[in-house]
């Protein structure tokens, strides 16, 4: 991401370059904070689309649609790919702030692989207060995958139920959830794993 007044001049081209680089390493999602991720809702769907709906992410549309200096995100389901991207980003010297959002260990290893020292760290200390308002852990893991809370916990609960009932496969259910994420950090691979696990147990 860039910072207003500091490095936002010509930032769109550099953010696109970042997304292009990420594409080479097999991301499971790409996105920007203005248009969302690689699976997006349609404004004019034909009723026939219910039977042949596209459930493949369109990474190219994300890159080409990036038109504002905002946050760009690339999501991976394996560490080596993330490490390779960090090496490439370092070599490209984009001048943008690059953040890794994952386990503390994982981020340290990515930095190490790219020969970087962490500049700053923002610990997430979990949820406090009236936690009785929160849904169960499976629902929470799905709904919090969009950091802005655009994936509703009611829909996440419904998708767990539908997968349990065999009404949808985990892969199909994940596409419904991913379309609501407004920033593209939703991780479909992890969501499939959560739905597969949730199918076999009761919380």
């Amino acid at each position: 991401m860039c910072s207003r007044g500091k490095n936002d001049e010509n930032a769109v081209a550099r953010l696109r370059q970042f997304l292009e680089m990420a594409l080479q390493f097999g991301p499971v999602n790409l996105g920007d904070a203005r248009h969302g991720g690689a699976l997006r809702p349609s404004r004019s769907m034909s009723p026939l689309a219910h039977w042949r709906r596209k459930i493949k992410p369109d990474f190219r549309a994300v890159i080409e649609g990036m038109d504002t200096a905002t946050t760009a995100a690339a999501v991976f389901d394996n560490r080596p790919a993330a490490e390779d991207l960090m090496k490439a980003v370092r070599a490209a010297d984009l001048g943008l702030s690059v953040n890794i959002s994952t386990s503390i260990d994982g981020a340290e290893q990515c930095c190490h692989a790219a020969g970087l020292c962490r500049h700053s760290v923002g610990y997430s200390l979990g949820f406090e207060g009236k936690t009785g308002h929160l849904p169960n852990e499976d629902v929470l893991m799905l709904s919090t995958m969009c950091g802005h809370g655009m994936v509703s916990s009611s829909l996440a609960k419904k998708m767990i139920d539908w997968v349990k009932e065999g009404r949808r496969t985990p892969q199909q259910a994940v596409t419904y959830l991913a379309r609501f994420c407004s920033c593209g950090v939703f991780n479909p691979s992890r969501a499939v794993r959560i739905l597969e696990d949730a199918r076999k147990r009761t919380r």
């Binding site: 001049e9 769907m45 700053s120 923002g122 849904p135």
Partner: protein, 261 residues
């Protein structure tokens, strides 16, 4: 939020305007067909009569029923904090409107020996009323803490010392909002305990984030031990890799360019 329900009196989907936080997830997230509403209702009734389960795609609005509303003050505050696609006017940033330590390599917002707190109220998915945010701000203000200036909540304060918000927005509900403060590392434990106390007085959830600048070796030897002593198990974090740098041309260079063209 669960603000949309079928009103039993009129048998129509209705938005509970009191609970709706104007996140626009219904409008932005749902795909739309443009079918005739009467036809759709008739089909559903017929299928219901013969006990056939209707199994549509769950993320499609068949009649494209949602229309964005022209919001006016103070209700527009709900959207500014709840719809992450709309940049905050005060900071120009999408999402929750603050960069936290994500651009610390450029802004130097949190320096060595300092700790930046992000106290996000209402997250995840519970929501928060502005009056609850004010309560938290008052508790922080009373402890003599200064609020981050480049933050949308701070921009809505009438008295930044005490943490008092504008009176006309206190009845607004948001998806979530981040209150940001910065303190010397020695005050970390005091602030965490203060937040623990204050959150007991609120009817919502709080996502606490604590950020700091790492040492020259990329390690944090200062903040992590304090948090662990307080009982936190540190597992996840946003890690700023330090690749950012100021690339904008100086203002003078740009303004002279404008004159000469």
């Amino acid at each position: 939020m669960g603000a949309i329900y079928i009103d039993p009196a009129i048998h129509r989907a209705t938005v509970n305007r009191e609970e709706c936080v104007e996140c626009y997830a219904c409008f932005n997230g749902l795909s739309q067909e443009h079918l005739n509403p009467t036809l759709v209702r008739l089909m559903r009734k017929v299928l219901q009569l013969i006990r056939v389960r209707f199994d549509p795609e769950p993320d499609v609005c068949p009649t494209a029923a949602f229309e964005p509303e022209e919001l006016v003050w103070p209700r527009v505050v709900r959207r500014a904090f709840s719809d992450p696609r709309v940049p905050h006017e005060s900071t120009g940033i999408e999402g929750r409107g603050t960069e936290e330590v994500k651009t610390n390599d450029i802004t130097g917002r949190v320096n060595v020996g300092e700790v930046g707190f992000t106290i996000e109220l209402g997250r995840p998915g519970v929501g928060v009323w502005m009056r609850e945010i004010q309560h938290m701000c008052w508790r922080l203000g009373a402890a003599g803490l200064s609020f981050e200036t480049r933050n949308p909540i701070t921009s809505l304060m009438t008295d930044v010392r005490s943490g008092t918000l504008r009176e006309d927005i206190l009845g607004e509900k948001l998806m979530s909002a981040i209150v940001e403060i910065k303190v010397p590392v020695e005050r970390t434990e005091e602030i965490v305990r203060l937040v623990w106390e204050a959150e007991k007085e609120l009817d919502t959830v709080v996502a606490l984030g604590v950020g700091t600048r790492c040492g020259p070796d990329g390690e944090d030897h200062v903040l992590a031990p304090i948090l662990e002593r307080l009982g936190y198990k540190l597992e996840r974090a946003k890690t700023n890799t330090g690749l950012g740098r100021i690339t904008n041309r100086p203002t003078e260079a740009r303004s002279s360019e404008v004159v000469t063209r």
